[in-house]
């Protein structure tokens, strides 16, 4: 039974993709994540399924981390499917959307239950490529460009990961399971590849360039899962592949910590400069992933605290996934039919949750994280507080942007979508209260309060002193650089092609000239043998040969 459930987690969405064109397909999509939720609930931790004949030997299983991931991912996919049942009803390319949706789901859920490198990679690739289909779904020029950029980054990441897992496999003499990996430290190069490969998925600063525009164009239900569960696949990758808790990888830990801190503030600052709520949410994700990255850095650098830190990381990831997903879904509702009061209430609640206001899941997650930090890293607590502060600012701006959003073609809100969103809201509101202990819900009071205060002051100041600053939509220097690089590479490739062609034509011309000269020469020779002087020539040759033969017999060298 357990094995069957584990298999169905990814097998069901995969098989249902075949039926995506049927009439009740949208409801079929809703069923797809159910095995995942069921497995998370029923299957005991530590169970596994071994399929030695599949691919290169597949092992599926469920551990603690996996269970939490399965729970929140499954939930998010369920809610998103329900939302999509409503919002994609009017889409005439819905079948295509659904196919990619289900494929991405299969990949996402599959990699969570994977217990060996290759099946993890399989799920990761499937998810990554299927997400392209989701991002490119709106047929606009903008979507095409964003999707292509996403694809390039994803494929680059996947290639780096391929190199990493091959080297890991060799290091462990062909053993592919994660349990085998935990026994030794990966080589330096492998670490780098893993960090960058998964870092691309997690949108570390510098590797994040695909994210904002991708979030801007993807249809709502897809962006919810994209920002919620799919981005966390990168985190899961680190959790699975990195031997946290066994050996001291202090240097790498410090690197991750630095990267994470950069991410937190970069994401926040960049987000504050945005004019579109979607882009803002994207940068907010970058910021939150920075928090997770720092925490991973802590786990690597202080291995004795690793189990606790990792547990906190997982909870934080779950919180962020659900809240961010809900934010996007809510935003989707606003984009459809404008800002209704009850939607605004929901959004405010979610903003508070993300910022980590007391009594929300954010506070819960933050307090768990803070508690897990080791003695020597207490300065990081200040950091987390600062993060909460910036996030509050960010969320206030988000709410303002949402208020200012103008809907061009309002369409009525489908019941399914509303139901889905409200369901999610309820879960987000309830689960911390159910799980958390008393003190954990009261964290972050000060930073949030400060943040709100500052925002109010800024708003009042703006009303008092209207400023006409046209803030350009933020476009990183890195993007410009990347564009120039791409242009340069294409130019180089074209020049190379041109060079090859020139060389070929030069050779051909030379060859042609050679041929002509030879032809003329031989033609002349032929002509001379056509008239009767030939007899004289022939005769002399003949006698000459006779003489030579004789000489040859006489004079043996």
């Amino acid at each position: 039974m357990n094995s069957l459930l584990l298999l169905l987690v990814w097998l069901l969405p995969l098989s249902l993709a075949v039926l995506a064109g049927q009439r009740y397909a949208s409801w079929i999509t809703v069923i797809a994540p159910l095995p995942a939720l069921l497995a998370a609930a029923i299957v005991p931790v530590g169970s596994s399924v071994s399929l030695t004949w599949l691919l290169l030997g597949v092992e599926l299983g469920l551990d603690d981390t996996g269970r939490v991931f399965l729970l929140f991912s499954g939930l998010l996919w369920l809610v998103a499917s329900l939302y999509a049942a409503g919002s994609q009803a009017s889409d005439h390319k819905a079948t295509r959307f659904r196919i990619f949706f289900l494929l991405a789901m299969a990949g996402n859920l599959g990699l969570i239950v994977a217990q060996d490198m290759v099946s993890f990679y399989l799920g990761f690739t499937l998810m990554g490529l299927a997400a392209y289909g989701l991002i490119a779904h709106p047929a606009s020029q903008h979507a095409r460009r964003a999707a292509r950029r996403y694809l390039v980054w994803t494929i680059a990441g996947e290639m780096l990961l391929f190199a990493a897992i091959v080297m890991l496999a060799q290091q462990h003499n062909g053993a592919l399971t994660f349990s085998a990996l935990q026994s030794s430290t990966p080589a330096g190069l492998v670490m780098l590849l893993l960090l960058i490969g998964f870092g691309i998925k997690l949108a570390l600063p510098g590797l994040h360039l695909w994210l904002p525009q991708a979030y801007a164009v993807t249809p709502t239900p897809a962006v919810a899962v994209l920002s919620g569960s799919m981005i966390n696949a990168g985190l899961l990758g680190w959790l699975r592949f990195l031997p946290a808790g066994d050996t001291a990888l202090v240097d790498w830990g410090q690197v991750l910590l630095a990267a994470g801190i950069t991410g937190i503030f970069f994401g926040a600052v960049a987000g504050l400069l945005q004019r579109s709520p979607r882009l803002l949410l994207g940068y907010s994700s970058i910021s939150k992933m920075g928090v997770l990255t720092s925490a991973m850095g802590v786990a690597l650098a202080w291995p004795e605290t690793a189990p606790v830190v990792i547990a906190a990381v997982v909870i934080f990831a779950a919180h962020h996934a659900l809240v961010k997903g809900a934010l996007f879904l809510g935003l989707g509702l606003v984009e459809r039919d404008g800002l209704r009061p009850w939607i605004q209430v929901g959004l405010v609640f979610l903003a508070l949750a993300l910022a980590g206001a007391p009594l929300t899941s954010g506070a819960f997650a933050k307090s768990v994280l803070t508690a897990s930090l080791p003695e020597s890293a207490q300065h990081l607590i200040t950091l987390l507080a600062a993060a909460a502060f910036v996030t509050t600012l960010l969320m206030v701006r988000f709410l303002l942007l949402v208020r200012r959003l103008r809907v061009s073609k309002p369409s009525p809100l489908p019941t399914e979508s509303i139901t889905a969103w409200l369901m999610l809201l309820a879960i987000i509101a309830v689960f911390p209260i159910v799980i958390a202990q008393a003190g954990q819900l009261m964290a972050n009071t000060v930073p949030v309060f400060l943040g709100v205060l500052l925002s109010v002051l800024v708003l009042l100041a703006r009303r008092r002193f209207p400023v006409h600053i046209t803030t350009r939509p933020y476009r990183s220097a890195a993007t410009g650089f990347a564009l120039r690089c791409r242009r340069g590479i294409l130019h180089l490739a074209h020049t190379g092609e041109l060079a090859i062609k020139t060389l070929q034509s030069a050779v051909r011309k030379h060859h042609e000239r050679l041929r002509q000269t030879m032809k003329h020469g031989l033609l002349r020779l032929r002509r001379c043998s056509d008239d009767d002087e030939r007899w004289q020539l022939a005769g002399s040759l003949w006698l000459g040969i006779g003489g030579l033969l004789l000489a040859g017999f006489i004079f043996t060298l």
Binding site: R526, R534, W542, I545, L549, G552, F553, T556
Partner: protein, 478 residues
């Protein structure tokens, strides 16, 4: 088995007379004679294979006075080839000739040619060789002039002149030998001849004469025009057999009778001439605009390959390696005989159907004659030396010998020659592919196409796949 030997000479001779006396049933008589002669050749081959070299003195006169007939492995093989080729060409000719007058003159001369060929291959002494050589030349000239057109006659006259020059030289050499050694019998001469001024001069004279007759570069100039105007069966026999007969004589003299007289220097000279023949002939074939000229120049080239063996054979010490190379030489000669004959017969069909044999205008015609084109393809495969033809095995031995003795020049020449041959053969075949639909039946005129096909198949397939006995037979010397 001696009956077979006699039959090989007597049957065609009688046939020639019979066709002269019975012009109306000449074709039937000729083909019948052909069949009988071929059977005799088969019997002889079988006899040589089982009993070893055969020997017969006509009239009971001993060697030295009388005419001796000798057959060893080499001559038996060549006799078999001759019979098969001439038989096939006879069947072909029975359908080829339309005008009565040509036919009446054709058969007697044809059978006379055959007689002289067989007699040459069976001759056991030098004078006999001269006589048969002369007879061969004369009948070949007459056949070449059969078309009656001005160009044909001019070419035939040139051929005659060249042939007579060659024969004269040969005779001069023969007389020198007689003066020096007092005998003309090949077996005796082999034992007696020593390096010295007589042997050198005689061999030089004989070889020079024979080189003219075998159309070795640069003495090949008479061959293409002679081919260009001759009727197809005549061209076939001319390229495949007549020049081969002269080559056989060179082979016999150099490797057998005068084996201890020949020197590597002289052999290298022959090799160089052969190499030039390969390159020049292939090049001219590539430039040729008419199929017949292409085939003629191809003959020049292919004969060059045969001469490339000489330096190798002389550089290799006597032993299995040398025997392998010698076998390769014979295999190459046999394959070329069949292939060239088949090619000429096929070209003849094309010429008859379309009225011309210009390569550039072949486009439509090649589709209408798929069996003919296939025959050309098979013959081409054998001429290029691709497997599974016998020429592949021959070229293999040539290359192996070159590598073994370190004479890399011949290797290079062979490779270049093969590539050029590929070029000129596939130039022709390229025209076989087109848009016109297939005719309903692949073979149109059976009596003409089947001989061409079978000859080409013999070269391209049979000799290659079943050719191992050739080496065994060659071990049987005189």
């Amino acid at each position: 088995m001696t009956d077979a030997m006699i039959g090989l000479v007597a049957l065609p001779l009688t046939g020639a007379l019979a066709t002269l006396l019975l012009p109306r049933s000449a074709t039937a008589v000729a083909v019948g004679t052909g069949l009988a002669t071929t059977v005799a050749a088969g019997l002889l081959l079988f006899g040589v294979a089982t009993q070893g070299a055969l020997h017969y003195e006509i009239g009971g006169w001993n060697a030295g006075l009388g005419i001796a007939l000798r057959a060893d492995g080499l001559s038996a093989l060549l006799l078999m080839m001759t019979s098969l080729v001439v038989l096939a060409a006879s069947v072909y000719a029975s359908a080829y000739f339309s005008a009565d007058s040509t036919r009446d003159r054709f058969w007697p001369l044809w059978l006379l040619l055959w007689t002289s060929l067989n007699a040459l291959l069976l001759s056991g002494d030098l004078f006999n060789l001269y006589v048969t050589l002369e007879l061969l030349g004369l009948s070949a000239v007459a056949l070449a002039a059969l078309g009656g057109k001005r160009a044909a006659v001019a070419a035939a006259l040139r051929y005659l002149l060249v042939g007579l020059l060659g024969s004269m030289m040969f005779l001069a050499g023969v007389s020198l030998i007689y003066a020096g050694y007092g005998t003309l019998d090949l077996a005796m001469l082999r034992r007696v001849v020593e390096p010295g001024p007589i042997a050198w001069t005689a061999l030089a004279l004989m070889t020079t004469g024979l080189l003219l007759k075998t159309a070795l570069f640069p003495l090949h100039f008479w061959l293409p025009p002679a081919h260009a105007s001759a009727p197809a069966p005549v061209s076939a026999v001319l390229s495949a057999l007549v020049v081969k007969a002269a080559f056989y004589l060179v082979l016999r003299l150099w490797l057998d009778v005068f084996a201890n007289v020949v020197t590597p220097v002289a052999a290298n000279l022959l090799g160089l001439l052969g190499a030039s023949a390969v390159l020049w002939g292939s090049w001219r074939a590539l430039q040729a605009e008419r199929l017949k000229l292409l085939a003629a120049y191809s003959t020049v080239a292919q004969l060059g390959y045969l001469f490339l063996f000489f330096p190798l054979l002389l550089a290799l010490p006597p032993g299995p390696t040398r025997d392998l190379a010698a076998g390769g030489l014979v295999m190459l000669a046999l394959t070329h005989g069949f292939a060239k004959a088949g090619l000429f017969l096929a070209i003849g069909i094309i010429q008859q159907r379309c009225g011309h044999d210009t390569i550039r205008d072949l486009d439509g015609t090649a589709q209408h004659l798929p069996a003919t084109t296939f025959a050309i393809a098979l013959a081409g495969v054998a001429l290029i030396g691709l497997p599974p033809s016998g020429a592949f095995l021959g070229k293999w031995q040539l290359l192996a010998g070159a590598v073994e003795t370190g004479q890399w020049l011949w290797l290079l020449v062979t490779a270049t020659g093969s590539l050029l041959a590929t070029a000129y053969i596939f130039r022709v075949l390229g025209h076989a592919f087109g848009h016109r639909p297939y005719p309903n039946q692949p073979v149109t005129v059976a009596r003409e196409e089947w001989p061409a096909l079978l000859l080409a198949a013999m070269a391209a397939l049979v000799l290659g796949l079943a050719g191992a006995p050739v080496w065994k037979l060659l071990e049987i010397g005189i």
